[in-house]
Symmetry: C2
């Protein structure tokens, strides 16, 4: 089951503010277990220290811990340090709430007012769902937003109410286009969530071959990366994560097709919303991000009465098509994440690389917070959530 923790599952992006943990190479390959409640406790303690209200810290800790639970480590605890820094610098506002700039029966233009992405995203997706329940579709664009982490989090909010949820976000430029030697666009993310009676279809992807989190994971585990993931500072493909992390230059998925899709996402999220876009978004955490996002909810009942039944048939047909390698079944988007959740349930804790835990030991010291306690033999509960 440890194979599940290979870079394939190191989903999500760590753009802006990512940095190599200060662990030594001896520590890098190690993994330690942390109880889910302990991870929650640590995240909440840190957030309270920087002035976030108790009602909000619960939402943020759930948002981060669920990402780790789903194996999306790039957008879990790993993100906390970046959020803390931006909250302390004022680039993300502790008490800010999103507000509506303008709206129609089916659309809204939202100002995130520099609230953390999870609050902007929850606000926008709930608004999109409400509009979709009246008009069939809700299309909400947000400016002045912050990183939204695991985009499918917001898609779930629509899917859990029987709607289809689509989420897109732009990001700092880390992706090279074809025939380019610099990053002119982010490895922008796309999520699509919908559920049938039997199947859930949960796609959450970056538009690059692999996101920066996969490169970080390889670095933390002292592994090479395959050619075609990322380039060195000269724009040439490299197998060394340390070189790839100096000036992030990721390759787009499917060459020009991934690049163009990323551009479409940036046009909708950045250009249309009034947020920053492309190379206007600073990689440097000394400047505020002003990211843009799109949240779409679609109510299938406005189109068909038996959508869920048809979706189950669609998913079943894909899953039951003959596999090339019979030992590996064909998997739908979201199934690997489901497997990871079962894996965490079996472990009764979250496995974190030592390098990450070392980083948070320093954060705990800095904020005078009790450091993360490792689980060891303390794994008692069968299922933590």
């Amino acid at each position: 089951m440890l194979a599940l923790l290979q870079p394939a599952l190191w989903l999500g992006s760590c753009l802006r503010g990512y940095h190599m943990p200060a662990a030594s190479s001896q520590q890098r390959g190690d993994t330690s277990l942390v109880l889910v409640d302990e991870a929650r406790r640590f995240i909440q303690d840190c957030l309270l220290r920087v002035g976030v209200s108790p009602s909000k810290v619960r939402c943020i800790s759930e948002f981060l811990v669920v990402a780790d639970y789903r194996g999306n480590y790039g957008n879990g605890l790993n993100r906390l340090d970046y959020y803390l820094s931006d909250l302390q610098r004022g680039h993300a506002k502790v008490h800010a709430e999103p507000s509506i700039i303008s709206e129609t029966v089916a659309t809204a233009h939202v100002n995130g007012n520099s609230a953390l992405g999870v609050f902007v995203g929850n606000f926008c997706m709930d608004l999109a769902v409400k509009k979709a329940e009246n008009a069939g579709i809700g299309f909400v664009v947000a400016q002045q937003s912050h990183d939204i982490g695991m985009a499918s989090w917001f898609g779930f909010r629509a899917a859990s109410r029987g709607l289809a949820g689509i989420v897109m976000s732009n990001a700092a430029p880390t992706m090279m286009g074809p025939n380019s030697k610099s990053a002119s666009i982010g490895s922008n993310s796309f999520a699509f969530c919908v559920r049938g009676e039997e199947y859930h279809f949960v796609l959450d992807m970056a538009t690059s071959v692999r996101d920066i989190g996969a490169v970080e994971w390889a670095w933390a585990n002292d592994e090479y990366i395959p050619h075609g993931w990322a380039a060195n500072e000269g724009g040439l493909s490299t197998c060394f994560p340390s070189l790839a992390l100096r000036t992030p230059l990721l390759f787009p998925a499917g060459g020009h097709k991934g690049y163009c899709l990323s551009a479409v996402i940036d046009i909708l999220c950045g250009v249309l919303s009034g947020a920053q876009y492309g190379t206007h978004i600073s990689l440097d955490q000394n400047n505020p991000a002003n990211l843009g996002q799109v949240f779409i909810a679609l109510d299938p009942e406005f189109f068909l009465p038996n959508f869920m039944e048809r979706l189950d048939d669609f998913c079943g047909r894909i899953q039951n098509s003959p596999p090339a390698d019979k030992s590996e079944p064909i998997r739908l988007p979201g199934e690997l994440e489901r497997m990871h959740m079962n894996y965490v349930d079996d472990l009764r804790a979250l496995p974190y690389p030592q390098s990450l835990l070392t980083k948070y030991k320093e954060v705990a010291e800095r904020l005078c917070v009790r450091p993360i306690e490792l689980a060891f033999e303390r794994c008692q509960s069968r299922k933590s959530f």
Copy 2:
């Protein structure tokens, strides 16, 4: 300039009813010129013969000739034979008109009533534009539709009125998923068109590495295809287009990412619309297609007053980023097509492979229509359209 006619520009899919032209290998590499008006004349004569009304033949011939003009040969004259067959079999209805099943202020569910795709698409995109002008967004799904050819045609309709146009269509299953050895989904298409004052952003792509038209083009030109485009009947990558065309098994762009995007398109176009989807769509032209599509129009004025200016800045930043190979500038989606249009303007005619012209000689005989006349020295007009 002939490099422009390499498979890179043989865009669009020829799914369902595609077949290898009956040309000998000696003829396959040749290309002949046909005046644009002559191509129009031939298409219209053939369509009139199968009972299409004079007012409709003009629209269809424009739709096909513009695809060729843009270098999208898979969706141009190449498609005519397939349309004629389906019209003669009754799988596409000569006199059918799309109708609205249900609608809200921002959405519509349309029954294409088996009209040709160009009529369904024009109807749906015009409806989406109308809704977007009132509600900010128009989202229209169509069932009982036919092939829509060059999807960006419909995106232009929105872009020409200052809106963003998004078009998606499902298609017969020709694409293999990761770890699959059969095609469970189509290489479904996606188009996004929007314009600024200076730049146009026109993306029109299939979700496979290359569509079946690129393989056909290689076959017609007696060339190998690179590994990674398509598989043979056993599911293994092949360099021989003849093997790849027997049971179309295309590889998705960006591996599982292209496959998942194609699945999202099929969920929206097929599952949500009530049309066929996945392996329900027959590859065999003996059965009607019942394809599904989505047409979205977005009015930027509901969000920002200076969208065009921001789009120009976004496009300019991408285009002006430093190229790796200085002899090849960085190109935006749609620029290669623009170059092909200039190339056709210079030629004053459309270049077609001999194999295609041989096929249409047989079609002309069958329908008792004057065959396509080659241009040779007849290229008089500087610009045909």
